[in-house]
Amino acid sequence: MTIALYRLDDRLIHGQVVVGWGKPLNASFIVLVDDVVRSSAWEQELYRMGVPAEIEVVFASTAEAAERLPEWERDPRVGILVSAEIDTLAALAVDGHQISRVNVGGLHHRPGRTERLRYVYLSDAEAAKLKALAAKGVEVTAQDVPTAHAVPLKDFT
């Protein structure tokens, strides 16, 4: 197996990721890519609290993730990679990495963003970044939980 889900979610590790996706995918590891969390042991412990002991949690900076992505993609276990930032996944999608799909799972209201879906708020610049990602051949859809309909990018940008 490999990383089965590349997810954009500003809540990072939470119930929808661990239970909603983690259970049906039978995920054995979760990679949280965030430069701030990577530099804070306290933040890492906070996110680790919500994950069962049998699931490994890896904390990585964007640079570390770019370096280790091939290793995670070759991992025989099923994994989930989550980041809060479009730029982070866009950075990981270059250099021939095998990111074929990105799941927009939760990007919430901030100044400058407008509602695109109940759980997706984007600025025009962010929408353009997702379109640029799709133009590279990455399938970008919005879907908060596996039982929901996957909404194509063109329907929310």
Partner: protein, 126 residues
């Protein structure tokens, strides 16, 4: 303590609101608890909701799960403060105990509530 504690129930969806209604129905106390849902919130927005809910404290935050966005926002808010404490695994039993013991320091009230909630979890023979 001169100012009674108030409790903030922090949950997914409408669990907090439902627990608040149940406490009021059982005890008649309706001013001790405030419900906060994480619906539509990222971590920052939820922290803002919690800040408004505790209204300066002192308070105990009753969180539904021991992980996830409700917990991370609550712990961030309580970090370094003695006037705000956090309990996870909120249930009706712990809230019923809490509303009648709001004169304790937040950390003591949180521990007491956790014990009351734990005692309510049983597997009775049927």
């Amino acid at each position: 303590m001169s100012e009674p504690l108030h409790g903030v129930i922090v949950s997914h969806a409408a669990v907090a609101q439902a627990l608040l209604a149940a406490v009021a129905a059982i005890t008649g106390v309706s001013d001790a608890l405030v419900p906060v849902s994480n619906d539509g919130c990222d971590t920052g927005a939820l922290t803002e909701r919690l800040t408004r809910a505790i209204d300066g404290g002192p308070a105990v935050l009753f969180v539904d799960l021991p992980g996830g966005s409700c917990l991370t926002s609550s712990v961030r808010l309580a970090r370094g403060r003695t006037d705000v404490a956090v309990v996870t695994g909120v249930n009706l039993a712990m809230l019923l105990d809490f509303v009648f013991h709001r004169d304790l320091p937040p950390a003591d009230a949180a521990r007491r509530a956790a014990e009351a909630g734990s005692r309510a979890i049983r597997t009775p023979a049927a």
